[in-house]
Amino acid sequence: MKWSEEVKELAKKALNKPPAYGPLINVSKFRITSEIKDLQTLLERPDVLKRILSVGIDVKTKYRAGTFMQFDEKIIKTLAGVPCVKIMSLEEAKEEFGEEWLEKYYWRAISVDTDMFTAFVELYGRGGYVIIVEKNCKVEKPLQACLYLATESFLQTPHNIVIIEDGAEANLITGCTIGAHRGAHLGISEFYVGRNAKLTFTMIHSWGPLVDVRPRTGVVVDEGGVFISNYISLRPVNTVQTFPKAVLKGEKASATFNTLIYGLGKSFYDLGAKAVLKASKTSAQISSKVVAAGSSTIISRGLIVAEADDVKGHYECRGLMLSNKASIRTIPELETKVKNAELTHEAAIGRINANELAYLMSRGFTEEEAVAMIVKGFLEPEVPGLPYTLKMMIKKFTEIAAKGL
């Protein structure tokens, strides 16, 4: 049986398999047919443009090396501005590269039968991007992908594959947002980072209080490869559950997951990351900074598994409580199957220090202004090696979030 047929069979069997974490979503309540009639008109609407800009997407694409845009299930733009970068839809990639390519990169970083959501995307999913950065190609400007939910109660189901070939380097910004009130997003993302390659992946979510989100992500990093993920969600959402898994299969490979969450309203977040250190001298760092306001719930997980000698892993969660109705839970798990692994974790959850607040108020700041200043400072990312443009972008988001208190 061909691999593409095999995954279909596996998916059928897993279609009712509940997810390991997070509340279930009744996918039958959502529609999978878009009501977009005129894409061009939609793209020119100021409210749509504003939403897209708010998740870091450069609509004019001037400051990006490549762009992919998908509204509902409709792919509206694939544009590569650099010769050594390929950007296309998954459908196009399947056609162009054929079965051999699928065997190598399709459902290999994450299993198709992980749960009902992965199975659903395989059987009914539409859209998604394939980005290939060719060997030794170092892309200076970031690449960008925009996933926009336009139709009311739409269920978006893209499957994305990113391949950074040996010695290549790229930054990819993915912005996901919504123009409708209600919707769901099941997004599969597979990342393959080659030998001595580097990918910085920044995902910015700005959904709405009636949106359910279940990203499913798998990462494979080869020898000397570097994968850095920054996940930022600073606007209200109904539920988000995600637990990306990185397998460090080549010596000295590394993975870093940074998460910035601002829980507002009734938002429910269950997220974290898993890193499997399969080769010697690999390392993983999982860091979360979460702010819980309103009656939000935030669960932060980190699982690091050491399976080879001389590996290092660290999980860290810092939580700031702004409300008595909110909750933060941190769940670190460290597992080693070897003697000489160095795995550590630390977590600290607290409220804003009353003395700091009183001090800022004695300088003429209102309580709201003082809280905003402290929260903004708290969310400021400390990510070494983050490109300047990304740093500035994240800074802008935290400023907007802090103002929205």
């Binding site: 001090y359 108020m361 004695s362 300088r363 003429g364 700041f365 309580e367 400072g377 708290f378």
Partner: protein, 244 residues
């Protein structure tokens, strides 16, 4: 400028710490409040500044003729009251650069911030650090006074600006206090050391506070002389309000 009328102060869940304090500070006057540790000096300053957790349970505080006893700390700051904290907290995540930018914006400061930083012994490197994180005692005290240059208040409440610092910082702080007075600012300075007083000019009046009460007030040199010769313990035994 500032008038306290029989002010009694308690902190949360405590008995009154400051009792029936009355004093008046005019424009451009430097008043010094002396007293041993735990006499209630800092509590009085916090009550004037309106710090949360410090409650005036009786009496009134007037500033420029208006009763400010029950207004918020940020309103008091906006009216021109500035408190230089004895132990300013670390503000994690907020760099000195960002913090000063907020102050400059809030108070419409038009002067040269870099020049002020230099005057107060700070370098470019300090700006990237979080407020007070890893700062020495002297740096923290100097940073407190530096903020007053940007805020330009009418009344400065200085809570032991001379504690835990080296002699160079002490001289600098004293020089800056003299400078504020020359510019017509009013100051209430709290200390329990006499060393800083040697560097200060034009002290208008000095008080001694014991167990939350002002037990002695008068011409500064007389007060300092008595404190020097007899120590604070001498004041335990004199009746309230009696001047020697």
């Amino acid at each position: 400028m500032l008038k306290l009328c029989r002010v009694t102060v308690a902190t949360e869940h405590s008995k009154p710490i400051v009792h029936n304090v009355s004093l008046t500070i005019g424009k451009g006057e430097l008043h010094v409040l002396l007293g041993p540790n735990a006499a209630g000096k800092s509590t009085l300053l916090h009550a004037i500044a309106g710090t949360p957790f410090y409650h005036v349970i009786s009496g009134n505080i007037f500033f420029e003729g208006k009763d400010i006893t029950h207004i918020s700390p940020f309103e008091r700051a906006a009216r021109g009251i500035f408190l230089a904290h004895q132990n300013p907290p670390e503000i994690r995540g907020v760099t000195l650069r960002v913090f000063l930018q907020h102050l400059v914006k809030k108070y419409g400061f038009k002067g040269n911030v870099r020049k002020i930083l230099e005057d107060y012994g700070f370098t470019e490197e300090h700006l990237s650090r979080e407020v007070n994180v890893g700062f020495s005692g002297g740096e923290r005290k100097r940073l407190e006074l530096l903020q007053a240059e940007i805020i330009n208040p009418k009344l400065l409440l200085l809570d032991e600006p001379d504690s835990g610092i080296d002699v160079d910082s002490l001289k600098l702080i004293a020089e800056k206090i003299n400078n504020f007075i020359q510019r017509g600012k009013s100051i209430l300075l709290v200390t329990h050391r006499r060393h800083i007083l040697e560097y200060l000019k034009d002290i208008h009046v000095a008080y001694v506070m014991m167990s939350g009460r002002i037990v002695y007030s008068g011409e500064p040199h007389t007060v300092f002389k008595v404190v020097e010769e007899k120590g604070f313990k001498y004041f335990k035994h004199i009746p309230e309000g009696v001047l020697v």
